[in-house]
Symmetry: C2
Subunit: 192 residues, 2 copies
Amino acid sequence: MSPPLDTERPLRSDARRNRERILEGARGAFAALGAEAQMDEVARRASVGVGTVYRHFPTKEALLGELVRQKLTRMTANTRVALERDGEPFGVFADLLRENAGLAARDAAIQYAMLGAGERVWELARAEQDELRGLTGELMARAQRNGTMRPDVSPADIPMLMCGLCATMTHTAPGFDWRRHLELIIDALRAR
Amino acid sequence: MSPPLDTERPLRSDARRNRERILEGARGAFAALGAEAQMDEVARRASVGVGTVYRHFPTKEALLGELVRQKLTRMTANTRVALERDGEPFGVFADLLRENAGLAARDAAIQYAMLGAGERVWELARAEQDELRGLTGELMARAQRNGTMRPDVSPADIPMLMCGLCATMTHTAPGFDWRRHLELIIDALRAR
DNA sequence: AAGCATACGGAACTATAATTCCGTTTGTCA
DNA sequence: TGACAAACGGAATTATAGTTCCGTATGCTT
């Protein structure tokens, strides 16, 4: 048996360039208009026809999924860096949350995926989620061993809390401030 | 000048009955299918034509708005009862949150209104919100005076946190449990 | 530099769901 | 009980946004 039949020839140069443009256009469109931004708008910002968008991403969900995947990858990278840092573990963890929340705050795709409506999008990046949860768990375990984090919180609580935080991010209502919300969450995780 | 020109003759008996049926049908439809349930489905459950639904509520938003208003009114009533109870103020407050969160958990209209998508719906019940926030504030002030609640949380924080909680309610993802989320929030509000 | 697979553009198509319209029915009041 | 305003039903309309199609253009290979 010969190895992988994964014989996909590399993309043509224009296609490779366009794929990037589309992702960039999508980031802009979703950042500006939320996840309801239309595919036509994405195409316009990418200076490309809608057909081309669909050549690269079979559905809007797939496009959102790719953006989510990329953002989770960056969060995972942040987490790796945090694991290297040495310092008071709870503080390191809290800073990581602040940093990753900041990434989410500027990303309508993540918010969309986290807010129920986009459960399918979320699943497209399951592998990335699992990896992130694993690394986060390691950091949390340290803080718990050292007694600075509540012993009864689990890595699975974090996505739930972040999901709630994203809800605050999408609102502009008076009194809604995701940074404040995050600080309350962090305090909730701290050991008494 | 004669008093109010508010000369609206009472609804015809069938209209009054249908209005109730529609609200009931809407509660059922939204509970079963979420806020994306269609107007046709609402009509079907109410055993009424779509036209009749629109005779009573000019838009879907107006219908959702009325459901939200009614639910907030019930929450306000709960809060009034809580203000009468005498007991450890923080505990009374926490129980109130548990009770009202329970109401929200069974109400897709409230969840929809709280999750950004429905900001307009939310505004239709501004008066009810303001009243609820006011009463809640009184209860919180008591707990703060008595030293059982963090002195730096304000009544305006509660809708924000409840909004996040609603995000958890709409999810079925593993590890997502709104009761757990709520307990974490309650702990965050408790004085150290 | 010809040949061709790959990729592009964007008008047209489709699906979905809210909303309107109007002919018919039903309560209410004299 | 007859007349009429109020209310009803649901097929038809409209609006929006995702997706498809196909004629044209372009990069790559020989």
